[in-house]
């Protein structure tokens, strides 16, 4: 079990108020947007804040999010390579 992915799922659920979703409901490779968790553009901004607040990763170009927020596995890989916290 990838501890970073598990923690990331918990953080996403908390910060996006996904009250009826459990970490195990989110597959590591499942898309977060579109047919996945049904997240919207405000959620995307909130994820950008999460990356900076929790991992010290500042995304200056919001369009990066399109690639980065594909799944929790993609997010975790990016965090591992770029985290400052």
């Amino acid at each position: 079990m990838d501890e970073l992915i598990v923690n990331l799922k918990k953080e996403i659920i908390e910060v996006l108020n996904l009250e009826e979703v459990k970490p195990e409901d989110i597959a590591d490779d499942a898309p977060l947007f579109g047919e996945g968790l049904g997240l919207d553009s405000i959620d995307a901004l909130e994820l950008i804040v999460l990356m900076e607040k929790n991992y010290g990763i500042k995304l200056t170009d919001p369009s990066q999010g399109r690639e980065l927020f594909k799944s929790t596995r993609v997010m975790a890989d990016y965090i591992r390579e770029n985290r400052k916290k």
Binding site: L18, E19, L45, E46
Partner: protein, 208 residues
Amino acid sequence: MKRGIARYSYINDHRASLDGKTIATARGEGCFLTTLYRALKIDYPRFFKMDNLSKLGFLASELILEGDERRYSRGEEVAIICFNRGSSLESDTRYQATIQEQEDYFPSPSLFVYTLPNIVAAEIAIRNKIHGETAFYLQEHFDARALFERVSEAFEDAGTRAVLAAWIESFDAREAFMTRVEEYDGEPPLFPFSGDTIVKLLNKSRNG
């Protein structure tokens, strides 16, 4: 055309009622608004993203519109007029906390979107496909006469046949009182539409 109050709902932090009859009461710990959402078996995950002001208005409208067969098909003829005293100050305060400290400066987008009180009217409109007038007014105290006058003005729009009129407060108290005012030409709705009736129904709701 005559106007009457077809339904009215009331929610505070421990009790919800519809047309004067208690629907749910708080049991144990936890947020009563979430308890009520689950008790009503609503499937609308967006609810959990709302601030308390929007949750109150949303649930009050759910109570009033439940079972209405024309709920999603008469959006052009329904208006939403809301009032309160504390504006969106509860969310304003929470948002302020995210930008208060320079070394912990992380403005929250999801809190920021609720730093306007009229978002509650938008949430109700989105849920019910309502395209009529939406408005939110601030009052020093609940003022039934002002509510009556503003709702009457909304009916001056030839397309308006019904108004969801509400007092929704979540800053120094948590309370929603919503009425559905309808134009009618046949069978009269529950109550006549007047300032006195509104005061009577609110007091009855508050006293349980």
